[in-house]
C-alpha cells in the first residue's frame, strides 16, 4: 500500500467475546489515509467506524492486523505514546480545569515549558474563537463552545492525525452547519490529517476529501464524495448516501431489460464488479430522472405528486409495476403540472443510471 500514508490500517480485525458469542466489530479492514487529508468514515451505528477510530487512537488493540502511523507499526503502543489526538463524541472535557488548562493539558503532559504551553493554548483558543472564555470552567460553556474547547485541546499538541468521533452530533442543526465549515477551515489552516467518523451522509459529503463507507465491519467503498454519490458500487452505498431508486432488471447485450420486457440502454464500460449479464439492480437518483416526449423513453403512470417548494416529488409506476420517485424542478412561479393517473415518459440519462449487483 501507499507508503506516504499518514495513517494506515492493514487487515485490521476486531472481535469481541469468544466462541459462539464472538462479535466481529471490524472485519479485515485495510485503508490508507494520506497526509493532510480529510477522511470520513461513514456508516450506520454498529458498522465498525468507531471501532476503527479507537484502534487508531490506541484505546483498543486489534485482534489481528496492524495500525501504522507514517509507516511505523504502532499497533502495540498505548494511546499516550501515539502522536494522535481525539475529539470525543461526549467531548470528555476535564470538569475540574479551566478552558485554558484543558487546552494546555496535552502539552503539559508532554513536559513542554510553561510559557510554551500557555502560548500554544492561547493560540488554539484564538483558532476556535474562544479567547474571551479562557478562564471559565468548562461547565459554564454552551454545548457548541465545549465542542470548540474539545477541538482546541486535541489540536494543541499538534498531532499527526486528529480523530473526530461524531463531534457534531450533539449540536443543533444550525450550529452543526456552521461547525462543519469551521472544521474544514481548521483542517486547511493546520494541515493536519483529519479522520472523521459520522453517520450523517450530508456531513460526510460537505467536508471530506475522501469517504470510506462502512457496513457490517467492512469498508464497502472508498472514494471522493462525488464518486460515492454518483458512482456507488453497491446497493448499500447507493441507498445510504442520499435518496435513490432501485429497479430490478436483467442485463442482456449491453441493455437492461425490465421484468415486463422494456429495454433501457445503459452506458457501456461501467466500473468493475458490475454484472455484464444476468440479474442486476438499476439505480438512479430522483433528481436525475427526466421526463421526455412520448415515443421516447419508458412509459410510466403518475401515482402521486407532492409539492416541495423548489421541486415536486412524483411517484411514477413503471410498466412492470415498480414505483420510482422523480424529483422534478418546478418552473419559476409555478409547479410541475402532472395529474394522478396521467401517463408520462421517463428518460434515463445513461450517465445517471448505474448497474449494481442484484
Amino acid at each position: 500500500m501507499d507508503s506516504s500514508a499518514a495513517v494506515e490500517a492493514r487487515h485490521a480485525t476486531k472481535t469481541y467475546g469468544q466462541g459462539s458469542a464472538a462479535v466481529t466489530a471490524l472485519d479485515d479492514v485495510s485503508v490508507a489515509i494520506a497526509k493532510g487529508e480529510f477522511f470520513t468514515l461513514l456508516g450506520p451505528s454498529g458498522c465498525g467506524k468507531t471501532t476503527l477510530l479507537r484502534l487508531i487512537a490506541g484505546f483498543e488493540t486489534p485482534t489481528s492486523g496492524q495500525i501504522l502511523l507514517h509507516g511505523a507499526d504502532i499497533t502495540a503502543d498505548p494511546p499516550n505514546r501515539r502522536k494522535v489526538n481525539t475529539v470525543f463524541q461526549s467531548y470528555a472535557l476535564f470538569p475540574h480545569l479551566t478552558v485554558t488548562q484543558n487546552v494546555g493539558f496535552g502539552l503539559q503532559m508532554l513536559g513542554r515549558p510553561k510559557a510554551e504551553v500557555a502560548a500554544t493554548a492561547a493560540e488554539m483558543l484564538a483558532l476556535v474563537r474562544l479567547e474571551d472564555f479562557a478562564d471559565r470552567r468548562v461547565s459554564q460553556l454552551s454545548g457548541g463552545q465545549q465542542q470548540r474547547v474539545a477541538l482546541a485541546r486535541a489540536l494543541a499538541p499538534r498531532p499527526e492525525v486528529l480523530l473526530l468521533d461524531e463531534p457534531l452530533s450533539a449540536l443543533d442543526l444550525k450550529l452543526r452547519k456552521q461547525m462543519q465549515l469551521e472544521l474544514k477551515r481548521m483542517q486547511t489552516e493546520t494541515g493536519i490529517t483529519f479522520v472523521f467518523v459520522t453517520h450523517d451522509q450530508e456531513e460526510a459529503l460537505t467536508m471530506s476529501d475522501r469517504i470510506g463507507v462502512m457496513s457490517g465491519g467492512r469498508i464497502l467503498q472508498i472514494g471522493t464524495p462525488r464518486d460515492i454519490y454518483n458512482d456507488p458500487t453497491s446497493r448499500f452505498v447507493a441507498d445510504f448516501i442520499g435518496e435513490t431508486n432501485f429497479i430490478d432488471a436483467r442485463i442482456e447485450g449491453g441493455a437492461a431489460i425490465l421484468p415486463d420486457g422494456t429495454r433501457i440502454d445503459i452506458a457501456s464500460g461501467d466500473g468493475q464488479g458490475r454484472p455484464a449479464a444476468g440479474p442486476a439492480t438499476l439505480t438512479i437518483r430522483p433528481e436525475q430522472v427526466r421526463l421526455t416526449d412520448p415515443g421516447a423513453g419508458v412509459p410510466a403512470q403518475v401515482r402521486q405528486c407532492v409539492y416541495f417548494g423548489t421541486d415536486t416529488h412524483c411517484h411514477l409506476a413503471l410498466p412492470g409495476g415498480e414505483t420510482i420517485v422523480a424529483r422534478l424542478q418546478n418552473p419559476p412561479g409555478g409547479s410541475v403540472a402532472l395529474t394522478t393517473g396521467e401517463t408520462v415518459h421517463i428518460a434515463f440519462p445513461p450517465g445517471a443510471l448505474r448497474v449494481l449487483e442484484a
Binding site: 487512537a57 490506541g58 484505546f59 498505548p78 494511546p79 499516550n80 505514546r81 494522535v84 489526538n85 481525539t86 470525543f88 461526549s90 470528555a92 472535557l93 476535564f94 470538569p95 475540574h96 480545569l97 493539558f105 496535552g106 503532559m109 508532554l110 470552567r137 461547565s139 485541546r153 486535541a154 499538541p157
Partner: protein, 305 residues
C-alpha cells in the same frame, strides 16, 4: 389577587411554618446544645472529693490540660504526658485516615467498576462488619495480632520470623484496629464519588499523553476529591475520639484522648479536667474540619452538577 395580598399570604404561611417547627427546633437545640453546655460549665468547676463537681469557679482544669502543678513548690511545668497523648491521638488518627484511604480507594474503585447489578453485593460485603458489635470486632483484631495470634503464627510457620513480633499493646496494633474498624466509612463516600466519575475522561487523559500515574493524579483524584474529603473527615473525627479500640489493643499505657477523658471521669475523679479535655477535643476536630474544607475549596472545588 393583588400583589400585596399575595405577599401577605406568603408572610402568613412562613410564620405558620415556623410556629409548627418550633417544638422540634427547641427539642433539637436542647438535645444538641444542652449537654454541651453542661460540659462547658463543668470545665470551670472544682472536682468533688469522690466524684462529681463542687460549685467553685476556677480555671484549674484548663491549666491542668497543659501544665502540671508541682506537689512540693506549687510551680507549674509542662505536662509532658498530656502532650504525648494529644500528639499520639492526632498522629494515629492521621495515619488511620491515610491507611483507610490507601486500602479504601482501590476497593471503592473496584466496586464502582463492577457490573451495576453486582455493586450492591460488594457494598453489602463492605458494610457487614458494621452489623457486628465494635468490641467484638476489636477483640477479633486482638486475636489476629497477639503474639500467639493468626498473624504471628502464620509468619512463624512460613519461616519469615523465628520469634513473634510484639504488635499487641503498641501503637501499630491501635492503628491496625482503627483502620479496620473505620474502613467502610472511607469506602462508602469514595464509592459515591467514583460512581459519578465519567470514565471517558480516562481515555481523554491517555489520549493527551498522560501516563497512568498522571491520569490518576491530574484527573481522577482532583475530580473525586469531594469523596476523599468526606471519607477522610468521617474516619479522622471518630478516630480522634476513639475509646474502645485503643483501650483493647493499646493496653492501658498507650492512651488516646478518648481514654484519657474516660480516666478523668472514672479513676481520676477529675470531672472538670475531663470536661475541659472534651472541649479541647471538640476544638481540634472543628479546626481540622475547617482547615480541610478550606483546603478542598481552594484547590479546585469541583462544580457539582
Amino acid at each position: 389577587m393583588s400583589r400585596t395580598a399575595e405577599s401577605e399570604a406568603e408572610t402568613a404561611r412562613i410564620r405558620r411554618n415556623w410556629a409548627l417547627a418550633t417544638p422540634a427546633l427547641l427539642l433539637l437545640f436542647a438535645g444538641a446544645a444542652g449537654p454541651l453546655l453542661v460540659v462547658v460549665v463543668y470545665s470551670f468547676l472544682t472536682p468533688g472529693d469522690y466524684s462529681g463537681v463542687e460549685w467553685d469557679f476556677t480555671f484549674d482544669a484548663w491549666v491542668q490540660i497543659l501544665f502540671a502543678r508541682d506537689i512540693f513548690d506549687d510551680t507549674l511545668r509542662l505536662a509532658d504526658a498530656h502532650l504525648t497523648i494529644f500528639w499520639r491521638s492526632v498522629k494515629l488518627s492521621l495515619l488511620t485516615t491515610l491507611a483507610c484511604f490507601a486500602f479504601g480507594f482501590p476497593t471503592a474503585w473496584f466496586i464502582a467498576t463492577r457490573d451495576r447489578r453486582q455493586r450492591g453485593l460488594w457494598l453489602f460485603l463492605i458494610t457487614i462488619p458494621f452489623w457486628t458489635n465494635l468490641l467484638i470486632r476489636t477483640f477479633a483484631i486482638l486475636e489476629v495480632v497477639r503474639n500467639q495470634g493468626l498473624l504471628n503464627t502464620a509468619l512463624m510457620k512460613l519461616g519469615v520470623i523465628s520469634t513473634p513480633i510484639q504488635i499487641l499493646y503498641t501503637d501499630t496494633a491501635v492503628l491496625i484496629g482503627m483502620a479496620y474498624v473505620y474502613l467502610p466509612l472511607m469506602v462508602l463516600p469514595l464509592y459515591a464519588a467514583i460512581d459519578r466519575f465519567d470514565f471517558r475522561l480516562l481515555e481523554a487523559g491517555y489520549d493527551l499523553y498522560a501516563s497512568r500515574w498522571q491520569v490518576l493524579r491530574r484527573i481522577v483524584l482532583p475530580i473525586v476529591k469531594p469523596g476523599i474529603v468526606a471519607g477522610s473527615i468521617l474516619v479522622f473525627v471518630p478516630s480522634l475520639g476513639a475509646y474502645v479500640t485503643p483501650r483493647v489493643l493499646g493496653g492501658g499505657k498507650n492512651m488516646m484522648i478518648g481514654n484519657f477523658i474516660e480516666l478523668q471521669f472514672g479513676q481520676g475523679r477529675n470531672w472538670p479536667l475531663g470536661s475541659a479535655l472534651a472541649m479541647v477535643l471538640l476544638v481540634i476536630v472543628l479546626v481540622a474540619l475547617l482547615a480541610y474544607v478550606r483546603a478542598a475549596n481552594r484547590t479546585g472545588g469541583v462544580d457539582v452538577h
